[in-house]
Symmetry: C2
Subunit: 425 residues, 2 copies
């Protein structure tokens, strides 16, 4: 059996030590390494200082098989990651004319700058004999080399470039280091908490060794990761298939997608494919559903608009919810959610509309527990209403309310039962 590889992530940048930016690169690289089955025992952050960086590299060399650096590859005098790493491993630097040409083209074609300044050429120097990681998302190339049994991979600091280069260049480089590799699928679950998902799957999780199954709590949803170790993608898929079927049979249609970006993206794609339009009527979520949809490029193809009727009377004056329906049932009720969705659909002239009315807290209304949200979906023919009890926390209640509204849309558009017991234990 092959040796279990250990990586150390070494993030370089004084701005990290000052707290000016959050270290999302460390998190993202950690996720990729965990997907590859490579252990991370330490992460180190060090400033743009050659002596301290050298010391950090010496420590990392002594305890890791793989060192992954982020940052310090740019054109300024602060950028010294390549030089320090090359020196620490006894390598010279070498100029790559074709990288300089790539940079000039990037400046000209993408940035619209005709003359690239001279200092950018520093980025075309790389350690002798390294594997070049071309940067299609910026100017600074990354690279990888092996020396004395340690693999060093260097990635740029801007999170967009770091992520893209990891997936395109570092991932295949690291996969090639071992015979067997890890392959993963990420299942996304909405409407159920992490502990509920875990308890439902505990027996299956315990009996599995390859693939493995692990749930993670994310904002308003659960990520369930299936990971198989295999010699090829096909072999991995064959291992994962029966497990995916068992998970599907247990968790069922609370899974909204596999290897997808977000719930709003899934809903957007479905709406677009069916050429259906959407409107929103939001009370407790206060514009969050509309915001999540309009975050997406091209959302104007399906989203026509929404009403944020936060004050009770505006539900009547703007949407036309009859005052006596509110009077009789209370503003936080299935009836009011239903009226809001039906009337938003008419007001905005759309095929579908979703609504929310609930208690985000922290103050209660003396009637419903904080965290109660009614979510409705109006179609041409029907209205569906779900009640969720999401527990406390203003931000949490708002996120879960918006997610359940989007999930009802997904269920309707994929012909699943629209109303389910969200957050049932």
């Amino acid at each position: 059996m092959a040796k279990q590889l250990r990586a150390e992530i070494l993030c370089v940048g004084t701005e990290l030590l000052l707290g000016n930016i959050t270290n999302t690169n460390a998190r993202d690289v950690s996720v990729y390494l965990s997907e590859l089955g490579i252990d991370v025992f330490y992460e180190t952050v060090v400033g743009d200082n050659p002596e301290r960086l050298t010391k950090a590299v010496d420590i990392a060399k002594s305890r890791a098989d793989i060192i992954i650096t982020t940052g310090g590859l740019g054109p300024t005098c602060d950028d010294l990651t390549k030089q320090v790493l090359a020196k620490a491993f006894g390598l010279e630097m070498e100029f790559h004319a074709e990288l300089a040409e790539e940079m000039k083209r990037y400046f000209h074609d993408v940035l619209g700058v005709s003359e690239m300044t001279e200092n950018n050429l520093q980025q075309a120097y790389l350690p002798v004999g390294c594997t070049i990681f071309h940067n299609d998302w910026g100017t600074a190339p990354g690279c990888a080399f092996e020396s004395g049994g340690v693999h060093v991979l260097m990635l740029p600091g801007p999170p967009r470039e770091c992520n893209a280069m990891f997936k395109a260049c570092a991932m295949p480089y690291l996969r090639a280091l071992s015979d067997e590799q890890l392959y993963t699928h990420n299942l996304r679950i909405v409407g159920s908490g992490e502990s509920t998902v875990e308890s439902k799957l505990r027996d299956l999780m315990n009996e599995l060794s390859n693939p493995t199954l692990a749930p993670y709590a994310k904002e308003g949803e659960v990520l369930l990761r299936v990971t198989a170790k295999a010699k090829s993608q096909d072999e991995a898929e064959a291992l994962m298939e029966p497990v995916l079927e068992k998970v599907q049979a247990t968790i069922g249609d609370l899974i909204y997608g596999m290897d997808v970006d977000s719930l709003e993206e899934v809903v957007f794609v479905l709406l677009k494919a069916k050429k259906l339009t959407l409107a929103t009527a939001e009370s407790c979520t206060g514009g969050l559903i509309a915001k999540r949809i309009t975050d997406l490029i091209g959302s104007s193809q399906v989203f026509r608009g929404g009403a944020v009727t936060y004050a009770t009377e505006t539900k009547t004056s703007v949407l036309g919810v009859p005052a006596d329906v509110i009077e009789k049932n209370g503003v936080i009720s299935a009836e009011v959610a239903s009226e809001m969705a039906v009337r938003a659909r008419k007001l905005f002239g759309t095929d579908l509309a979703v609504s929310t009315t609930g208690l985000a807290g922290p103050d209660g209304d003396g009637k419903n527990p904080v965290g109660t949200v009614f979510v409705a979906l109006a179609t041409q023919k029907e209205v569906y209403v779900s009640k969720i009890s999401s527990g406390i926390g203003r931000a949490r209640v708002r996120i879960l309310g918006s997610s359940c509204a989007l999930d009802m849309l997904r269920r309707y558009l994929t012909e699943l039962p629209v109303v389910v017991d969200y957050y049932k234990k």
Copy 2:
């Protein structure tokens, strides 16, 4: 002159190495230390493993005067930060009955749990002779001790508890370590980029040594930090006052607040004080203004609701913007922004209304550059319209659009000129 203190931040938690959570504690603690004038040369992340944590502590001891740990103070068998640190510095652990009582009260009064489980008592053991950091925001107490010239401070992992305990307990402990201390004011600026702020203040920044002045780019705004080194708060304030006056004279009313939480919070407080109500009419910001306001607890006191009129026709059908105004001026125009605000104010029956119409991109409309946003504020008597050219990036355009709308409200409510050249170089 006193020795410049060096701190190392040591974050403990396997979930960090797996990338399950983002290390916001490292960022927040870095910011506090930089405000205190304490250098951070290294940050290290290590998992819940006693051997590797011991090794990381040994390295930290050799290169730092202050070690600040986060995480691993809880009640489970994974939580071993206190034990490992005490052992590394040769200290025994000691039980604190009063801490156990505090925990029981927290479980009963805050969590509503009558019987606290036995494992929680582990949290009442602390290194002999340490300074106790009481936890008023959770159960696990923190602590600080000095041994062999190194100060060790231990803080809990949940970000809310870590932040609150740093401010309440670690801050005074660290301040007491030196005669002279750093005091800061944070000025918040909207409507101007970091490079513009920096170029306006460069001369002043260059001539200053105490206090210092440093701008930082934040999401949709600029943070300008003034930092004075002094023996007391009064002395620091006296040093900062003339600088604050000069900054005010240079940047002027683009500064929306000092030591405040957010622009929406500033606007909310002003609206509440003046007992004025607000409505929104959003196109390109798609619900983001409403979302930012309703994020705030108590926002229903001032916010009545809003319309997200994303499709052009909904500006007419929902808000009543005359079709010929749109036809004549184009949907992205001062006239349409103005009509949207005026009509949202009437529709929602509020004192004030703000609106946005613009091009978030990435696609253009063949007429306006991507990033063009018209923002309007309607009051009982007048309508004000600002035009912003915020540059590219869909998320950026949306954030800046929402911030400028909130800023126009702030200007109106504090009797400043409402329309200014936002993002003028």
